[in-house]
Symmetry: C2
Subunit: 290 residues, 2 copies
């Protein structure tokens, strides 16, 4: 039975899960839950996720929500997923093995009857992958109350709110920007420290890169000067965004297409509003001179 992914590509965590499936060749069916139509509150969807949030998945008889939990599950459950995403495949560890450790890892993936059988054998004391996974968990946990909290608060209150039936709120936007900027500072100075191209000094992306990157991509829909003000001071973050775009192409472009369309529409609306402002301002000026 194919994996089912319930998602709306306007949601950052949905995009992360969809890109993850595509890039890892997971056979899945994407089922749209239209947030603008409030389909996440339908009884059918609430049966899958009573929290009324996307994404959610159904894999056979098993269902799951919360995007970080989903990414970890997919990385563990689908043997074709590349090791760097969650350090799940068992293999010889080339670096950072404390000298007191002896480490042997053999991984054999085979088919038995018509079912996938994952066979693994490992001997370790604090294996390297345990450390790496722990650091990935740490980034993902940090994400919730920092980058995600700030980015969503800012973007909803300067741009996307009305599409979700919420008013724009400059005061909330200012608080969102403060939290978002502090989070970007930490990514720049801590999570991206070292010479690696990705978070935690890695040279290949993990699920943490994918999750945080999709979060930041929502800044595409805000005004250019706002985005420049917020992202401008963070040169390493900008480079990391480019690295992650390149590492996830062509799926990045396809999955983010909807976001770029929304950006275009919002820009048109702004330009219409601006020209209308100019016209009325001209009229006012003329009127005042009469």
């Amino acid at each position: 039975m194919r994996l089912k992914v319930y998602a709306d590509r306007m949601s950052e965590p949905s995009r992360a899960v969809v890109i993850f499936c595509k890039i890892n060749g997971i056979d899945f069916e994407e089922i749209k839950v239209d947030l603008a139509k409030r389909q996440q509150y339908s009884p059918e969807f609430k049966e899958l996720n009573p929290m009324s949030k996307v994404p959610a998945i159904v894999d056979g008889k098993f269902n799951l929500f919360e995007s970080h939990a989903i990414l970890i599950y997919l990385a563990c459950a689908f043997p074709g997923v590349a090791d760097h995403w969650y350090v799940i495949a068992h293999q010889f560890i080339p670096d950072y093995v404390p000298c007191y450790m002896k480490l042997l890892k053999i991984c054999v993936i085979s088919w038995m009857q018509d079912n996938m059988i994952l066979t693994s054998f490992h001997i370790s004391r604090y294996p390297n992958d345990l450390f790496k996974r722990a650091k990935i968990h740490s980034v993902l946990d940090w994400h919730h109350s920092n980058l995600r909290y700030g980015a969503v608060k800012f973007v909803q209150n300067v741009a996307l709110g009305p599409a979700l039936g919420l008013p724009l709120n400059p005061e909330a936007a200012a608080l969102g920007e403060k939290i978002l900027s502090a989070a970007l500072d930490k990514i720049e100075s801590f999570w991206l420290k070292g010479n690696g191209k990705f978070l935690l000094g890695s040279n290949q992306p993990s699920i943490a890169d994918l999750s945080l990157f999709c979060e930041i991509m929502q800044l595409e829909v805000v005004d250019e000067k706002d985005r420049t003000r917020i992202l401008g001071p963070h040169k390493k973050v900008q480079q990391w965004i480019e690295n992650t775009k390149n590492a996830t192409r062509p799926h990045f472009d396809e999955v983010h297409k909807i976001l770029f369309k929304v950006k275009e529409r919002l820009q048109q609306q702004q330009s219409v509003a601006a020209s209308s402002d100019n016209t009325s301002s001209t009229k006012t000026t003329l009127h005042s001179k009469m």
Copy 2:
């Protein structure tokens, strides 16, 4: 080298990690980072956790922060940890094995030289423990923006704020209570569904129970009528709190001692303030009659 746990028992996630270590017989040193003295901002602590939050751990040369990531790491790194906390030990799975699966798990924990060696061998297709772990991750991820967000916002704004140098804010407290109550509704109706004594229908606690339980325990410091109003409608939550208290005793009592002392002190302050109000009100009344 002993595990070091940097914690302040006034912090809910710190309490969860300390209880976890104690209940699982992990040999550790607890190092107090006094939040009231802002020690989390000291250069020494920021070296361990640049986010200036407790808890954080140091295990040999490895350091880690974010309590959920720490709990998962400890469950994986210390072989003595009971299986139910994170479904990490490899063993025969007695239930919920889809009929098409063949499942064999052998776990051997042994010592080699002076180091701990964990040897595991498992063959599985979507093993039961993968499902269970995924559900634990789902609860923990959900916790961040729901129960934790609501509980901290409420408790800081009705009781604890001044101890951290923050003002009490009734408007923020009202919003916190709304989010907290909604989270308790979800625990009552969803996470505690089934006949199990713990979250996810289990009969033994997991790290998710410990984390959410320690969060809710902070309600001890708010006014009795507030706590009754918030917890009163949630009978299953109340029973689950009792179950988790009993499952974590005597460590629960010892680690929460500081919270009960703060509760006592706040109650004394309130009663002094109330009697002072009465006196001044009496005086006012007397004055008005003069």
